[in-house]
Amino acid sequence: MSPDPTELDRARPRPREPDLEATGTEDSAGAALAELLGRVALGDEEAFSHLYDETSPLLFALIKRVVRDVSMSEEVLQEAFVEIWKQATRFDPHRGSPHGWICTIAHRRAIDVVRSSDASRRRDSDEGLRNIEEKVVDVQEEGIMRVESQRVQVAMRSLTPLQADAIRLAYFGGYSHREVAGLLDIPVGTAKTRIRDGMIVLRDRMGVTS
C-alpha cells in the first residue's frame, strides 16, 4: 500500500530546501497553526476547517505510512481530527509546537489501529512473522528513504544504521520497541538505547528546541 511516488510528486505543494535549520517559513507557519488551534479551542468550526485544509495532507501521509490500508487510514484521519477538535482546548503553545502536537495525535491513533488490528496476525503466528519480515524488506528496500526529504535524510545519515533502522521501524513502521528488537535481532534494552541515542542525534541535527 505504498504511495505511488509520481503521484506524490504531483501532490507535493512546494519544494523543500535541504537545510538543517528550521526556516522562517516554518516558524510563521507554526505561528499560523497556533493561532488556528487557539480559535479551534474556542469552538470555531471555520478555524477547524482551515486547520484541516492546512494539515490533513501531511497527517494523512503520516497515517497512511503507518497504517498502509487506505480506507483504514481515512478512518484514522477522521478520528485524529475529531481528537484534535476535542483536545484543542488543552493545547499549550508553551509546551510544544502545534505541528508536533497534531502529529502526536495522528501518530498515536495510527499506532492504536495498527496494534489492535494487526496484533494477532503480527505477533502470534508464523505467518505473522513472515509478514513482519516481508514488511521489513519493504521498509528497507522499497523504502522510506525515497519519501524523506533531504533534511531528514541528512539528519538520518548521521545515525548509525542500527539507530536509523530502529527509529524508522518504530515511527513509520508502527512496531513496538520489542518488535523492533526482534526484527533487528538485538536485545530489547539495546533497541531502547538505540532509539533514544538516535533521537538525541536527530533532535540536535534538526535543530529541535524544547
Binding site: 507535493r12 477538535w85 510544544g96 508536533g100 502526536t104 531528514v152 518504530a170 515511527y171 533521537m199
Partner: protein, 301 residues
Amino acid sequence: MTGAWALNALDAEERARIEDYLAQDADAAAEARSFEETAGELARDLEPVAPRPELKNSLMARISQTSQLPPHPAENTDDAAAGSRDEVAARGESSPRTHRADYPVADDSAADRPTGDPDTTEHDATVVPLDRYRSSVQRTRWLAIAAAALMVTTVTGIGLWGTERAAQEDSQATIEALESQQAVSDQERELIATIMASGDATQLTLPSEDGGSLNLMYSNEEEAMIIQAAGLPELPSDSTYQLWLIDPGADPASAGLLTDPDKSALVEESMTPETTLALSVEPAGGSEQPTTTPIVQGLLS
C-alpha cells in the same frame, strides 16, 4: 524509554509506567517532549497526500456534534512533570470556554487527583480506542425520543400539544411506537416536548470521571431538564448516584437520585445559565449535601 515513548513504540502498560515516571522527573519529561517534537519533524518531511474531499464533509458534520474537552489541570504528564501546577491551574481557569462543551472544569476534583495517576494520564492522552469513541456518540434512547418530539414540534409549529390534531395524530403513531418499545412515560414525553419547543433547548454530553457520561437536554427558560446516563459504573447497593444543581454562591440543591441509571431522570427545578449540574456518589437514600467530589460537572449555559 523516552525515545520509544515519543515514537509510540510502547505498549499500554509500559506507556502508563513511563508516564508515571515522567510525572516525577522534569528532565526526563523535557527530553521526552523534545523527542516528540523530533518525531513530528520526521513526519513533516513525508510527501503530503491529500485525502478525499468527502472525508472533510463527514468530519465537519461530526465535529459539529462533538463536545470539546474542558482545559484540564492534569492534562498530561508533561504538565505534571514540569511541576508548574499553578501555571496550569491558572490556565485552566482563564481558558475560555467553548461555545458548546460548556462544562466548566471540575477544578476542585481535578486538583485533588494525583497528577501522576496513570489512569488520568492515559485518559487525557490522545489514546481513545475507536470503539470507546463510537459508544460515546451512540444515540441514547431519549435522543431518539427527542428526535421524534422534534419532528412533532416542527410539524405542529407550536409544540407537541398543539392544536393541529392531524399532525398530532401522525406523530402520535411514532411516539406510540417508541412508547411500546421503550416505555416512555407520559411525563418524560411531555418534558421532552416542552424542552424541544422552548427557545433555548440545549443538548450537552458531560463525561464522567469514572467512565460513562450524562446526556442532557434542557431548557433554562422552561426550567426543565432530562438526563440520560450512559455507561456509568454500577454502584454497590449501599450507594447511589445523586444529581445536584449548583448556583453560584449557593449550596448545592439536590435534583434527585439516579437510582436506576438506565432510566431517564427528569428535573424540573430552578436553573439558569450560571447553574452547574453535578453528579456525585452518595450513600443509599441520598444526602442533603454532596459528601463526595462530583464525578460529573457541567455548566448549563
